[in-house]
Symmetry: C2
Subunit: 241 residues, 2 copies
DNA sequence: ACCTGAACACCGTTCAAGT
DNA sequence: ACCTGAACACCGTTCAAGT
């Protein structure tokens, strides 16, 4: 699908009157909401703000959208559609799955704290389903029991969502912090853990360093790999499945 | 610590005048917020509603609490204090850790959707730290590398929180649904998956049954066991750590 | 030092009235 | 059929004024 090319406009040409923009359909509303999400985060997306973006009042949206939840569901599915659906290759299923979940994570992280929304429901839009469908497809290569695959997909979706949400928290809580301020924040956090009383928190103290090491993606890949390696060990320990 | 015993009151005794309840301290506010959380869920906890519970106005709370976030942090730490801290036994570290995380999950689930709040930040209250401290303590029995333990604790806290939140969603979204209505809802969901077009979703179709099988705790235990078994496999595959 | 009412700048959603 | 202004019942937080 490609948009029709538009003739270039030179500066002398008079602007088209903005009048016939009164079509205000569902897809336009979703688009406006997505723009606001990217600009201001999930809390910035209010019905009033979306309406403002479309030069109308909040009440007008309700002719095309049943409620805010419905709207965000549609926004989420648009985002899910950005996740590339890879071919299933002949290689190691674990590596294929890791790359796929990392790309899903990257898409989520690139849209602020949208993960907070998808944590709250089972996404059932077509694009979201296509993502899950492909996950199962790749995991089927493993020949693990059906129930293990089903539950694993569920747990992994929860994990990728929670991880993406966690990643988005800092920019949400400190909207216009400089990198220096963020470094300062983490230094303080590290100091806080390092200064914990030894008698009550003997283990935590030593962990402060490794606990805050690495970036979000590295930590995500760690959890992912641990879980996927665990699947085989789990199936081996539960031959009844 | 035990509260001082109070003399029993027989029915004829006149009630103490309610007058000297004007102390309105921090702990009282936290207690009121916790009561409202349990009764109405996290969205029910508004500064105005908490104030009402204490027969005052919202503005009055700000003499004792810096803001709503601060208040909820204190509420969370009270809840974290409910998690029993077990002795570290001589047995299998994996089983000990599973029981511990299950008890943490149960406490979270028993306070509506409070998990949504803890997903959004690294809890640093004393009770929350004590929980993490004990997790590391148990995991140290495994003799896994320090970094693996640190990252594993982090991932597991994310997982237990996300899982508890997911569990709370249904009662939040359908506040006064009867068990029959819930069964109906899940039947419809199952039907939705079962009716997916075979050409586009060949894998998802067959998964609808196992995907919705089991209760929250069973599914949680599954993910937990998979992850913990994966830790050993991961460490074995990464001898450089 | 603590408490208060009123105000500010917001919410999602409904509804009668317009075209 | 679609759009609108005004209203309803809420938010978190601030602030000047009271005791």
């Amino acid at each position: 699908v490609t948009t029709a090319p538009r003739a270039p406009r030179w500066s002398g040409e008079p602007r088209r009157t903005a009048a016939p923009r009164r079509q205000l359909g569902f897809e336009q509303i979703v688009g406006a909401a997505l723009r606001i999400l990217d600009a201001d985060g999930l809390d910035g997306v209010s019905m009033r703000r979306v309406a403002q973006e479309l030069d109308t009042g909040a009440a007008s949206l309700y002719a095309h959208v049943t409620n805010k939840d419905d709207l965000l569901e549609a926004v989420f599915d648009r985002i899910a559609a950005e996740v590339p659906i890879p071919e299933i290759g002949p290689g190691n299923w674990r590596d294929q799955l890791i790359e796929y979940y990392v790309s899903l994570r990257n898409v989520l992280v690139s849209h602020r704290d949208i993960a907070r929304f998808s944590l709250a429901r089972i996404p059932t839009g077509p694009a979201a389903l296509a993502v899950t469908e492909r996950c199962i497809g790749i995991m089927n290569l493993s020949k693990l029991p059906t129930k293990v695959i089903a539950w694993a997909c569920d747990a992994l979706f929860l994990y990728v969502t929670a991880n993406a949400y966690e990643e988005s928290i800092y920019e949400s809580r400190f909207p216009n912090a400089t990198p220096e301020q963020m470094a300062e924040y983490f230094k303080n956090l590290l100091g806080f853990f390092a200064d914990l009383p030894t008698d009550r928190f003997p283990n935590l103290r030593g962990m402060s360093g490794p606990m805050l090491e690495g970036d979000g993606e590295q930590r995500f890949r760690f959890g992912l790999e641990v879980f996927l390696r665990g699947l085989e060990a789990y199936a081996a320990a539960h031959p009844e499945l």
